[in-house]
Subunit: 343 residues, 2 copies
Amino acid sequence: MDIVDRKYRILQAIIDDYILTALPVGSRTISRKYEQKLSSATIRNEMSDLEELGYLDSPHTSAGRVPSNKAYRLYVDQMLRPVPLSVEETAFINRCFERRSHQVADLSTRIARSLSSMTRYTTAVMTRAPRSEQMLSHLQLVPVADRRVLLILVTTTGSVRQHVLDVPRAMAADELYAVSRILTARLEGTPLSDLPARLAQLGGEELGGLARAMAEQQPHEEHSDVSALVVGGRSNLLSFPEYSDVDKAKALLSVLETREKVVSLLSHNGEMEISVRIGPETGMEETKDCSIVTASYRLSDGRVNTIGLIGPTRMQYGKVLSVLGQVGRSLNELLDETGGKLE
Amino acid sequence: MDIVDRKYRILQAIIDDYILTALPVGSRTISRKYEQKLSSATIRNEMSDLEELGYLDSPHTSAGRVPSNKAYRLYVDQMLRPVPLSVEETAFINRCFERRSHQVADLSTRIARSLSSMTRYTTAVMTRAPRSEQMLSHLQLVPVADRRVLLILVTTTGSVRQHVLDVPRAMAADELYAVSRILTARLEGTPLSDLPARLAQLGGEELGGLARAMAEQQPHEEHSDVSALVVGGRSNLLSFPEYSDVDKAKALLSVLETREKVVSLLSHNGEMEISVRIGPETGMEETKDCSIVTASYRLSDGRVNTIGLIGPTRMQYGKVLSVLGQVGRSLNELLDETGGKLE
DNA sequence: ATTAGCACTCGATTCGAGTGAGTGCTAACA
DNA sequence: TGTTAGCACTCACTCGAATCGAGTGCTAAT
């Protein structure tokens, strides 16, 4: 067990060093910087074993060794020691969650910006609102123009959706209010997803054709139920030596500009609170040399907030996980304060 | 005038060729491809003159010549012949403006995507709503949660703003409606910018402290009055040889990720409908080797839509201007149909 | 089991020669 | 006088050979 323990330590040292330098690491480096009791020859033997076991790759004969995806997997599953955040870092995160002091941008944008500036990786923040779970609590029609009204839906969880409708004839504010009252009474508690159907049922002309207009003009809420997606710090990727090849950089950046692809990268989260996917585990050809760390938080109104960081597989997992942990804590604090409402 | 005319033609040929190839162009190239009546030696003399006049630069003695910013200026001001768009291209643009057929993304996003995919440059689309010009037409309060109400402001031009308020005590829908009526009556026609002041005046407790809450909690609408900003096709930049240097690419991409900077790049528009800014005219150190073409459209509700394309100074100005022109025409058509309302 | 020692590998760097596109100048020409 | 042929010269770029050096694997001694 002792020798196994040593292999383990050596592997860890290799990964640590490679994450730091992005250079293949050689036996002498380990012997000098990490395991001074052992000669480089010994390390060499161990490294040879580790390669056989599939934890190391050698780019070519006379370069050092590079951790394999299997090694990274072991690393995040078992080797990670928590990296304590500096006081400044913690403060920085907390500041980004302060009440609505600096209203400059919405919370998602602020999270994306600060995470990518702290970690130097690329950050994506997504909010999904499972439409099916939300139910109508209040409905209100407001005049906008001659034959246009604004339809406002407030759900039981307190979130608000709005949509402009074209209506067959002009209606006064008072009339619209009366209709709003009737419809609210009849439809309260209806799941949002059933709303168009229920409205179509009501159908008739008695409400000035409004119910029909509403049924027909309901926005079929995007493809998915993603309500917000912000990506920040894309240009950070260009600092990594693995993307000094412009073509590689372009391929990845282009994925990160495609909303659907980003959503799918963030979504593959097996309902874990925090998930780390390494290389091919990201599930996309273009990101087979990347790792993605995602954290999901369920808001009290049923929406799910997912924060993802993407970078080369040689990622500072320790740091990233600590930062995400702190973000999670701050976020929960904020949610407690505000009763689970975001924005 | 004849000789001047020839210089002019040669300069144009040089610019055309350089825009196409990004390679310094030599006298022989011009003589073979553009002015077969003249020998390379003659061209050489002319080029020497053109350099003296400040229209050409030579990277070093034995490379060809490269157009200067002054040359590009002349080119867009006087040399541009309209590039007719292909049927496919026109169709492509029109498709992106089709009514609300594919609701997949909002109009700005669609414009940004299609423009950057057609031109291979980076596109930014911005909508500004000059707050000062807008006046209140209708105000409505809707219950959201126990002590939270949604404030909806409809302006004379038919645009809608919403904002959630914390209120001192719970209020029923009917009561809120009554208050809405009173406030609408009193505040109709008030410019949005004066609203907080007017509300503070009303102040008193008679409305359940609502007016005060509203005065205090009015969102101070961002720094500027920019209501939407979408950037698309950033990764296109990486295809240009001028950005094969990763550091240059990073500097520019990083600008294009900073909302404020993009806004300022789009804003420097001297109220012209279409403006072309070349190199340093873009007004930002990081973009001194770029050109920016912007087009602005005033919507009938007073908002201004600005579409900008950014790329190396060696930009396909002809193509870009044609495309933007077509976009303008399609946009106007759409606006006519919908009475000037976007979204 | 560990290590010193050594031969060997192979990418990266350096250097110099050669190449070729391009210029500027001069002299001849129409 | 404007145009052109010719030529010397410049200078980035390419290519191959030589060199360097970090690193490996193996063997034999401790």
